[in-house]
Subunit: 319 residues, 2 copies
């Protein structure tokens, strides 16, 4: 299968590329603008004839159209990784999330590529506290441009699928963690504690509580769903069964780093920033009933990702 992976040099995308190339029948095109993607994550494939790298921007419609020809399946992971940035640069998610997705879909339509896997997120559900949102939850009232543009991207994918006979698998993932993550709370804590081992500044009150899924489980969920569902639009929550608080994550980071007597300081309030959602709860019945379940809990995923990040020889962008 010829796979086209947007954001293929990024955290989740590059991990997917590794997995795809384990299968000798697959060919992979990585399409990445290296805005947050890193050559480091994919360079071990450079000598593989089945691997093709295109340094391009999804906002450049012509390059996307030209690059798309001849593929079978698109994995769309490219996105703005800094979700708080929209407070000052209000169109960043619109460009990187919506316009980019449209260019991709239009290129697919013109080339007759009719299958897309999209990485959405819990942001589409808005801030609904302890409500366990299923895929058919409503009303959808996003509170950030990040969430709004994930929902907008899902919507235009759905429209293209119905208007132009495509199929899509849309995943509303929990926070994804793993070796190559380039942002996120665990990543930030390591960075802060490396700079100052005596204290840790925590955004909010530390009680924010969400599901954290390991990237290995993300790949597993995608693989499972695309092989077991075949609707025009297939939407799935994919998360762990448990939740973990920011304070607990701090404790794990400190434990894995072997630190002691670290003083916690809090910015206060229940949110990290205005569009932040302090509590996220998923209803996972749909994907569980289908037969998939995350192998690692949130606690295990966090501990493993912290261990992985600490053992990784850090590249310039991560330090």
């Amino acid at each position: 299968m010829k796979c086209f992976v947007t954001g293929g040099a990024g955290f989740i995308g590059s991990t997917m590329v590794d997995k795809l190339l384990e299968n000798s029948n697959n060919q992979v095109t990585v399409f990445d603008n290296f805005c947050s993607g890193q050559e480091e994550f994919i360079k071990h494939h450079f000598s593989d004839k089945r691997f093709n790298l295109i340094k391009g921007d999804l906002l450049n419609a012509e390059i996307v159209k030209k690059s798309m020809v001849g593929h079978d399946l698109v994995f769309h992971f490219a996105a703005n990784p800094d979700i708080a940035k929209a407070m000052t640069q209000t169109d960043i998610d619109l460009k990187l999330g919506v316009d980019a997705t449209y260019n991709l879909l239009e290129a697919m339509r013109l080339s007759g590529v009719n299958k897309i896997v999209f990485s959405s997120g819990s942001g589409v559900y808005g801030n609904v506290g302890l409500v366990e949102t299923a895929e058919d939850f409503g009303p959808l009232i996003p509170v950030s441009m990040y969430g709004a543009c994930k929902l907008a991207a899902e919507s235009i994918i759905s429209a293209f699928c119905h208007m132009f006979d495509m199929k899509s698998w849309i995943f509303r993932f929990a926070n994804v963690v793993g070796t190559r993550q380039t942002h996120g709370v665990g990543f930030d804590f390591i960075k802060k504690l490396r700079a100052d081992k005596s204290k840790l500044f925590i955004l909010g009150d530390g009680k924010q509580s969400k599901s954290y899924i390991h990237v290995s489980d993300v790949l597993g969920a995608i693989d499972f769903a695309i092989n077991n569902t075949n609707s025009t639009v297939n939407i799935f929550n994919a998360a762990t069964d448990d939740y973990i608080s920011v304070r607990e994550i701090a404790d794990i980071v400190i434990d894995v780093m072997g630190l002691k007597s670290v003083k916690y300081e809090y910015s206060g309030g229940d949110k990290g920033w205005k569009g932040d959602i302090p509590v996220v709860r998923f209803n996972l019945n749909k994907i569980h009933k289908l037969g998939w379940r995350a192998k690692l809990s949130s606690h295990e995923a966090i501990r493993q990702s912290i261990t992985e990040m600490l053992s990784l020889k850090l590249t310039k962008k991560q330090t």
Copy 2:
């Protein structure tokens, strides 16, 4: 109150402008690119000092920003009126629906204008047959770019409201009919029958069945909701209690035009075009409980709008 009306020279927008200027305390800025708007609909206000016309395009962010300063409330009616066009021009709703809405919101943010009324539609619900969709219906699986981009616009309005302390009233209207409509099934039938009184070509099988709301009821619903609700994001279905089929609309048009022995010809299939939704059913409990109900039924609204359109001295664009 200083009101900013996008699409203010269009069908619904210009009717809203008439109503707003009946109140001597109101001032109105019409912002329209005259793509489908008509000077004919607003020229009776040109001598009114409380009326201001800006011929501008919402895709020109700088003009929108400059024009927005000093207003209190935005009515956002501008949209692509030709929803089938996206089959060939796939980005038309993205530009006119999403990018335009973003430019408007950004101008509001920069000028401190914090209230917006948005005209959305049943397209956000996708094709769910006889299911009576309430405002919290899910999952939302739009089948056209029109519907997808209405949902996308709702989403970014919601994000801006939460991130930048705005308030919004979002209306998912049934098909709107009235004197100044410039598209729609009744409008098309009049046009076709004026050209040939012997036969009428009907898209689909004529059994498509939806709610048609008169523009007077649209204005009533908006006025009622903005005076009786005050949440950050207020979403309402607004439709009639009844439904009418395309065949029944044809019968009414022929009756009002005084024609006889018109032969119906059908393109066949249950849809007018690929992104069309043949059956739309609203759950109206939310707005009914609040105290609003459409004064005219779908049958009455269609008959009245046909009568109004026939009595109107037609402008060039309508004939």
